[in-house]
């Protein structure tokens, strides 16, 4: 894997595709984020990507992300002024100048959003993230495991309304921030988990931006065979090749839950599998045998085009290849499994590493 140091429009396209792969079916379409960044990069220098070690230990790093419904972002785009305001709110709270931007979620839309902020502010972006994939709730980051709090957190909407949060736990931050997101019109920009370079180093999932760029390049180059190359390169496992035979969705508590039934094709003829998803694909099973569970990544690829497929695109007849990718080792401790394992999502099965 080649490390990226400068991100221009071309590289960003690969990053958006790689981000969709690590989205594990969720996190929203990175298309909107890519367009936003393209626009920024038109009038700005390419974004510099740095290693966290290049920063002084006490430098301030600000993660930036979008919170809310990606569907809303398809209709109402950010104003583009959010990032400057967010960062100045955070600098005021932290009483310190920011040195670099961080991507908190290298999956889905949030894989490209931080590049917009970095391009806009002329700041470098740290090569890494705090999930190594997409997760639905804001406490589901490696920083939570290190006892780092999400707050002080700032949130801002497209109209220029800002809010800051000071809470007793990351779960509370999630609850309050989610509620305010609705009032702000369904999507908002946030900066949370402000960290120093020293703190960041300990819990950062390193080089995930280089990784999604690399994944994107593989998908572009190998199209429908990409899943095989990715399995080999990323120590993953081709779990299944199948056609979608049924999709059942139920809405509740704001998160869509769904079940996909799959009928094997190719080498998997005569076998059946099942996927559970909420916003991301969470569990893959063949009969009672668990093939993969969260926090490992279950990534689906259109068998004909090789493009990553989201949970929203699941429909009868779609032929897919299912790739299991091991999550970052940080997610495999007992504490981490409590935070992001199958039981947190109310599935009564144990996590078994891929």
């Amino acid at each position: 894997m080649k490390k990226i140091t400068l991100v221009d429009k071309g590289k960003l396209e690969a990053i958006a595709i790689g981000g969709a792969v690590l989205g594990s079916g969720g996190g929203g379409d990175p298309y909107v984020g890519r367009l936003m960044t393209n626009q920024c990069l038109k009038n700005a220098e390419p974004v510099k990507v740095i290693e966290v070690d290049e920063l002084d230990d006490d430098s301030l790093i600000l993660p930036i992300a979008m919170m809310g419904a990606p569907t809303v972002m398809m209709e109402k785009f950010p104003s583009g002024n959010e990032f400057t305001q967010l960062v100045s709110m955070m600098e005021r709270l932290m009483q310190k100048k920011v040195s670099a931007i961080l991507c908190i979620e290298a999956g889905g839309l949030n894989s490209t959003i931080p590049f917009v902020a970095a391009a806009k502010l002329g700041l470098p972006i740290v090569d890494g993230d705090a999930m190594g994939r997409a997760f639905p709730e804001l406490q589901m980051v490696s920083f939570t495991l290190g006892g780092i709090t999400a707050t002080p957190m700032a949130m801002i909407d497209d109209k220029g309304n800002g809010a800051t949060f000071d809470t007793i736990s990351n779960q509370w931050t999630e609850k309050l921030a989610r509620a305010l997101t609705i009032q702000m019109g369904g999507s908002a920009m946030v900066s949370l988990y402000p960290v120093t370079a020293a703190e960041c180093k300990k819990y950062l999932i390193k080089n995930s931006l280089s990784l999604i760029h690399y994944i994107g390049c593989i998908v572009k180059e190998h199209s429908f065979n990409a899943y095989l190359v990715l399995a080999k390169e990323l120590n993953g496992k081709h779990l299944f090749q199948a056609r979608v035979r049924d999709v059942e969705r139920t809405a509740g508590e704001g998160f869509t839950r769904g079940v996909v039934k799959l009928e094997g094709i190719g080498d998997f003829v005569g076998r059946n599998a099942k996927l559970d998803f909420q916003n991301e694909f969470l569990i893959a099973k063949e009969g009672e045998k668990v093939l993969a569970t969260t926090p490992d990544l279950i990534c689906l690829f259109d068998a004909n085009t090789g493009e990553p497929v989201t949970t929203e695109a699941m429909k009868y007849g779609l032929a897919v290849n299912i790739l299991g990718l091991p999550c970052d080792p940080i997610w495999r401790s007992k504490e981490a499994i409590d935070l992001v394992g199958p039981k947190y999502f109310k599935y009564n099965i144990d996590y078994k590493p891929l």
Binding site: G68, M74, S79, F255, K315
Partner: protein, 514 residues
């Protein structure tokens, strides 16, 4: 009711005459560079064959590729400016994002952003200001824009700000030509706005096309109204095409699927339309093509107007075969099949030659070539089709596959375990689809489900809106039925927000002829 259906394709122009459900006659003529003389030839031949006089016709219905071709070739495009009602939101992705530069240049694409728009719950992002709209208009006019498109955030939830802007401009400058996004696309600001821009830039051409068809109608002594077919297989009045040409953009595949369903009398089926170079595979439900769910890229621009979910791939009657390392297409001899294919005495081995030599059909003027590995090649062809048919299916139900189009003779008797039907007149399915088109209404909205309004009520409300729309478009209220209802919860948001889509259709209401 006697209807004439015409389909102008890239290679051929087809025409048919239908009386209610009955096929009275049809013919195929080469599409001419001026389009109209090809249409005239096809209509004349058809009327003659059906022994019908033009004055007997009660509707003349046209499906044409004029507009999509203009965009693809970047020709005859009007200078167009966009007013997007969005500020303070929206600035992070400006209009024309991700468009091919030459297309923007060839239509002198410009834009202005103004305050306004709605949140998903219908509350205002900001107030619309009359002065700001007029300033934006003036700026665009200075930049040379003759056509104006207007888009607004969540116009699918509330369209009134677009309407307000329209009224302001019309009051200030009555001659301004305006295209509104809400009339054209579904959810997704950029895609809807793109559709409005494409629409705006096509308007002068649309006027020209409609006028010339109108002249032809008179010349051929039709005294019935003329309609065009929309992307969703329903009708639009000729006068409406002048305002909304983009709605007829992708009618070709739709007409062929509708025609296939009609000719085979199968309302739920898969349709495989094999042309000379490409094959389209889609599904019809209740006689209408299943619509693509998300965005559709047309001529390199991402849009989201309602289009059939069609899988196109490079297989046709003229596909060139490489028998050494066996492969089929995507190169094709196209409309030169009858000169170049071996069964017509030519020297190029095509898919048609393989089909004849394998015994699937008998066509041509010469004997089929002897191809040693014909079994292997026909197998490749069958696999190509089977794979797409399997993808186009949406259930395990055993529905038939309807094969239409000139190249369909090469298809097997069974595809993906489904029976293949080749209905009579299948080579004219497109024109038949045009002749039988109905009227539709479609509405797409995000609704918050809570105590006051449950899911069923919300769907009912959206359905009523769709019906109202269909009636406005001349549907006979008595014949309106709901064609499709879908609802999808929005992810990552608490509260139960549903994206509801409803489509209804009805028969065209005509002044009865004495």
């Amino acid at each position: 009711m006697i209807r004439i259906g015409v389909d102008v394709g890239g290679t051929n122009t087809d025409a048919v005459v239908m009386q209610a459900e009955k096929f009275l006659g049809g013919s195929k003529r080469p599409t001419t560079p001026d389009i109209l003389s090809g249409v005239e030839n096809a209509i004349k031949a058809t009327l003659k064959q059906a022994t019908i006089e033009s004055f007997q016709a009660e509707a003349l219905i046209i499906g044409t590729t004029h507009f999509v071709n203009a965009i693809v070739q970047r020709k005859n495009l009007a200078k167009t400016g966009l007013i997007r009602i969005c500020l303070p939101s929206g600035g992070s992705i400006l209009p024309f994002a991700d468009w091919p530069k030459e297309l923007v240049d060839s239509m002198n694409g410009n834009f202005q952003l103004v305050k306004g728009g709605f949140e998903m719950d219908g509350s205002e992002i900001a107030k619309l200001e009359e002065k700001e709209i007029i300033d934006a208009l003036e700026k665009l006019k200075v930049l040379g824009c003759d056509q104006i498109a207007i888009s607004s955030v969540f116009a699918t939830v509330r369209g009134d700000m677009e309407q307000q802007a329209y009224d302001i401009i019309k009051k200030y400058s009555p001659d301004t030509n305006i295209s509104l996004g809400k009339n054209i696309g579904g959810m997704g600001l950029l895609e809807r706005e793109n559709a409005a821009l494409i629409n705006a830039t096509l308007k002068p051409l649309a006027k020209e096309v409609v006028d010339s068809f109108e002249d032809l109608r008179k010349k051929l002594n039709f005294n019935c109204p003329m309609f065009f077919t929309r992307n969703d297989g329903t009708l639009i009045q000729a006068s409406e095409v002048i305002d909304l040409p983009v709605l007829t953009f992708a009618c070709g595949p739709t007409n062929s699927m509708r025609g296939a369903a009609f000719l085979s009398k199968e309302k739920n089926a898969l349709v495989v339309d094999v042309g000379g170079t490409t094959t389209d595979v889609g599904e019809v439900k209740d006689g209408f093509p299943r619509q693509a769910g998300t965005s559709v890229t047309v001529a390199d621009v991402r849009t989201n107007f309602s289009m059939p979910d069609v899988i196109s791939f490079g297989l046709g009657g003229g596909s060139i075969i490489n028998k050494e390392s066996p492969s089929v297409g995507p190169q094709s001899v196209g409309h030169e099949l009858t000169d170049k294919a071996m069964v017509f005495g030519g020297s190029i081995l095509t898919a048609t030659d393989i089909a004849v030599s394998y015994g699937r059909c008998k066509i041509g003027t010469k004997c089929a070539p002897n191809v040693i590995n014909k079994d292997e090649i026909i197998n490749i062809i069958d696999q190509m089709v089977e794979d797409r048919v399997a993808r186009a299916r949406t259930s395990s139900q055993k529905i038939p596959v309807i094969a239409v189009g000139g190249g369909s003779v090469m298809l097997a008797e069974e595809i993906d375990g489904l029976e293949v039907i080749k209905p009579p007149h299948n080579d004219l399915a497109n024109a038949v689809g045009a002749a039988i088109a109905q009227v539709s209404g479609q509405v797409s909205k995000i609704v918050l489900i809570e105590n006051k309004i449950d899911r069923a009520t919300a769907i009912n409300q959206v359905t009523e809106e769709a019906k109202k729309l269909a009636i406005e478009r001349n549907a006979d209220p008595k014949t309106i039925k709901v064609l499709a209802v879908s609802d999808m919860p929005l992810s990552y948001l608490p509260g139960n927000n549903l994206l509801i889509n409803v489509t209804v259709v009805g028969d065209l209401k005509m002044e009865s002829k004495s």
